[in-house]
Homo-oligomer: 636 residues x 2
């Protein structure tokens, strides 16, 4: 093996010219017509360099300091401020045209945001006014900090629902409204803290573990829970006065289901639907209030801006743990929605959204909101879609939204006095029903059964167990899927495609044919402790089966096993022991083991543990076959 | 994309001849000199077939029913019995020569087994006699059921230690000896049950998750704990009578450290060391008993065979959970040692040991032992090594061992009356110190830092927290390592090695050179929800960097991104969405995205979700480059 490792190092040191003039290959290279290329080690790196490189790949894949490279210090300062407050970036060249479209889109989302805000607050068992507060401060904050141009910020159904369910399990919003409110604000604060620190610690990869499959199932489950909750109220009121209430409900339902069909052009119509139905029903109730009684309405909402709620934050006592837990769950969920939505629209307009930066923005936004009587907010999908389709250009649309809400808060609150709660229930139901994406679920089933399983798990988990546990199970299934793929990897028998140097799976490519007295195997996974034993057994079984096949067909005896390591993307010590073991056992059967094209890290480890025998390493299967069969020829 | 999928299916259905005459490639294939091979779908399989195939790969990688294929029913019966009782297989052609070597090796391991049995029983806080019982029944059982020829069965240090520590945490062996004994037998029963069911359910893969790295750290930690425990006793006695006791201790220590050096030829010498030192010290104590007092000795051991202990099994009451937990932990540990040892010696003599079969054998053995006053036993490493080096040929050496222990139990027990406990402590310490494999730890550090981390975790976890928790942490680290590899995979830029069709990493192969107006990337991992976002960002960053490099060097503009999918061994729905997304974003930059050589499952999923654009799929990078650059040539 000395020879090989020498050869390898030699080739590396001097940049590896095709036909190496040192080591074992020369004699053969002289005989065979085709030249043999040697396998290189990756360039030498110290442990520290490796660690540094690895960490930068883990935490800074997007290379955030990239733009700071070779700049003057004042330029760096400007860039730094622009990094913190993206508004400074686009604010400078903001003009009237942009402003026009931003105003239009801002007003459009406002018409959706006000009723949604009130409804979602109810969904979280919070007073309606909190919903409006939460549509005022957060958008302003985000327009300063956020890097997405189309994200419309505000309360969202999932986070509201989760907060509502998780908190009301322990504390009744009816019996202890103040404590409940305190917990809600505290949870919001911790959600923000959690999100901001995730972003600050560059742990964006955490939310990557909530796969789309998981979210599809989760949303469907959550949607069903909340619909049922709201339906109670809906039927309760229907029991009173069927006719008059059904009309607006049905109209709004109708409109909204159209919304959930996602016809972009119709967005701004359907966006207006909530507001119209609210106005319609409010008028109805107002007109008939003298005749019919017992219709539950919102009632008095006090005018004025967000009061500060710093005194409401609850940092000690028995419910702190609950608040933190709720904060983390709602935080991670709203983060996932916000970032996913941001990325979606960014990709449509072909600009980048920095995940970790967004996390910090949303996190700081929530921390600030928690001090101004707001609860958890993030970029809402439906609202951002409306925003985008109404032609929003920059985050100014969020400022316009905030402005509109401000006016409402200051002057229009009395108008909501007669708004019947039933209409809000209708709005909520139709909104969340849009979250049930059975098409996506079907696609999952169609494309990837295990993804579907994860989806189903989170669906039933959320529906029948609890929100965090349901999500936990779903994530567990997704992780298990990864582990299973590693524990039981594919192994293929390769054959040569005639008149080419291409070697492909015999089972897949009918034109590929076996090479006499060679068995060419490919391993389709890293070799780890978790699969080394399996792989050893499996490979030996391939050899055994091949030998029997040969005996049966009276073909030329098996002499050499070639393992194509191209897809073996990593190896650990158990894996290396396995290769040694395999080599020994094959030698006992007087078979040669040859490895082809190991990737850099694998090559390095094999080299460092000296398991590379002489002439047991080639760059391509073709060269291995040519070289070895040449070496079998009787010497002249 | 209809075209592609048609072409793909066509190629599959008709076995795909090199130049397909349908679909899009024809026109190009006409122009370019080299022929273009199409990518195939894997052969069609129903979901059920897939599931069946997958499950058989997961649970029956070794194809256990293989030998039953096309046999007469009576032959099948014989084979079945031979499968259950391997002794029927080799028993028929067993002869005198085999018997001779088995007798020699049997006697040799007996001389090691008797003192070890007594010592290890003490290590598990059990009466010494239990250790002897455990060296009698289990070997007999194993010789009937086991498929390894060199495994020497008996109590082992790790399992004894773990049982001792876990049980004595809750129940004091001094205050409640009977209860403790009951729990020990019950734990043994559950260990057996657990092992047997693992084997029966073909869950061999469970023990694969205890990587070698984990075990190295674990053994070292365990060894230190037990040495300290025993050292107390050792020093306590030394305080009494220094001189006389130190001699045998030191000799045995000396011998044993020689054993732990693992010089095979010296094994049978060092194997005799425990017995000699026991005899020596016993004689010493016997001679001086009148003069010196206060030397703690074994004392009276009652003669006779294993009494049945079925009445001692403890199936209800507060400690049942403890017994089950202890059973599972000791079970999995002894299983790991047993199977590892079995495989090691099988590979040396080039025969197969069926992991799941072995699990059943060891499991049944332990279940039976628990009814005959034995505690957990398995194939011990040191003893099997002695057995192998003493020339054992079959499991008969276990029978001889059992016979010798039988004689001891019936007649020689009084001889152990004066055996001082200190010598047992010495034997234990020297045995466990052999378990500290610092060389292996150094190799881990040298080859794989993360493996070393797992090793260190289990070491300190076991040392400072607790045995199961320590193991849990270590397994967690190992699993985290796998996940990390998937979450942050390598991406490479490939270049062409001149005058070949070989494309390799530019960073690794100095002779490789970029292909003008192409960017050739390789992804070295499956594309999963856990890495799809990262990969998207990373690939786009590669493109961006390449474009800047080109601008800086005034090279020909970038036109086409080729992604080599060879190492992408799996994809899920998030991954597929990512590829679509990427395609869109590149098209926005007027760049073409081409995929090369996706593996079967990936190809299938991409095909099923119709994301394959026309002419965006090639079998090799070389063909992709040739075909596309040809299509750029001005048409005549």
């Amino acid at each position: 093996m000395g020879v090989t490792s020498d050869r390898v190092e030699y080739v590396c040191r001097y940049g590896g010219n095709g036909t190496t003039t040192s080591g074992v290959n020369v004699s053969i290279a002289a005989e065979v017509t085709m030249e043999i290329h040697s396998v290189c080690l990756p360039p030498k790196e110290s442990t520290f360099q490796k660690l540094k490189h690895r960490l930068s790949e883990i935490f800074f894949p997007d290379d955030p300091l990239y733009r700071f490279k070779d700049q003057t210090w004042c330029k760096k300062l400007v860039l730094g401020l622009q990094f913190l407050f993206p508004i400074l970036q686009w604010g400078s060249h903001y003009d009237l045209n942009l402003f026009k479209s931003d105003v239009v889109s801002g007003l459009t989302i406002a018409s959706l945001a006000i009723p949604q805000g009130i409804s979602y607050a109810q969904l979280a068992n919070l007073p309606p006014i909190i919903g409006l507060y939460s549509s005022f401060v957060p958008p302003l904050m985000y327009s300063l900090l956020g890097s997405s141009r189309h994200l419309a910020v505000g309360p969202v159904s999932i986070a509201s629902l989760v907060m509502g369910t998780m908190l009301s399990e322990k504390v009744s919003p009816v019996q202890h409204p103040t404590l409940y409110l305190k917990l809600a604000f505290t949870a919001t604060f911790f959600a923000g803290l959690f999100q901001a620190s995730l972003g600050f610690l560059r742990l964006g990869l955490v939310i990557d573990f909530l796969s789309k499959a998981t979210l599809v199932g989760f949303m469907a489950g959550a949607a069903i829970i909340v619909s049922l909750q709201q339906l109670k109220g809906l039927l309760g009121i229907v029991h009173f006065t069927t006719k008059m209430q059904l009309i607006p409900v049905l109209t709004s339902v109708f409109h909204h289901t159209k919304e959930s069909m996602k016809k972009p052009k119709l967005f701004w119509i359907s966006a207006a639907a909530p507001l119209t139905s609210v106005i319609l029903s409010t008028l109805l109730v107002f007109l008939i209030k003298s005749k019919v009684h017992g219709i539950s309405i919102i009632g008095h909402l006090q005018k004025g801006l967000n009061p500060t709620s710093t005194n409401m934050l609850y940092f000690n006592g028995q419910y702190l743990a609950l608040a933190i837990k709720t904060g983390i769950v709602t935080g991670i969920l709203s983060l996932t929605e916000g970032i996913a939505v941001g990325r979606t629209f960014a990709s449509l307009k072909n600009y980048q959204v920095d995940g970790n930066k967004e996390m910090m923005a949303i996190g700081l936004m929530n921390m600030a909101s928690s001090c101004t009587s707001c609860y958890v907010t993030t970029g809402s999908f439906s609202r951002s879609a409306v925003n985008y389709n109404a032609g929003a250009q920059t985050a100014v649309s969020n400022i316009v939204l905030a402005g509109t809400v401000l006016v409402t808060l200051l002057f229009l609150m009395p108008l909501f006095y007669y708004t019947p709660n039933v209409i809000l229930a209708a709005i909520i139901i139709t909104a969340v029903i849009g979250l049930i994406d059975y098409k996506a679920a079907y696609k999952l089933w169609n494309v990837d059964k295990l993804d579907f399983l994860a989806c189903i798990c989170s669906f039933f988990g959320v529906l029948f167990i609890s929100v965090p546990l349901g999500l936990g199970i779903a994530v567990g299934v997704s992780v298990f899927k990864i582990l299973l793929h590693v524990t039981r990897p594919n192994t293929l028998v390769l054959g040569n495609i005639p008149a080419t140097q291409i070697y492909q799976s015999l089972n897949r490519y009918k034109e590929a044919s076996r090479v006499p007295s060679f068995l060419i195997l490919a391993i389709e996974s890293p070799i780890y402790f978790a699969n080394s034993t399996y792989l050893q057994e499996r490979l030996l079984r391939w050899v055994q089966e091949e030998e029997e096949r040969i005996k049966a067909n009276h073909e030329s005896t098996l002499k050499c096993i070639i393992i194509d390591m191209t897809s073996v993307t990593a190896i650990d010590t158990s894996g290396i022991d396995m290769v040694c073991e395999l080599k020994k056992m094959l030698e006992k059967r007087s078979l040669v083991l040859v490895l082809v094209n190991p990737v850099g890290s694998v090559m390095e480890k094999m080299h460092r543990s000296n398991i590379l025998g002489t002439n047991s390493l080639f760059l391509t299967v073709g060269e291995a076959v040519a070289d070895i069969s040449a070496s079998w020829k009787p010497q002249p």
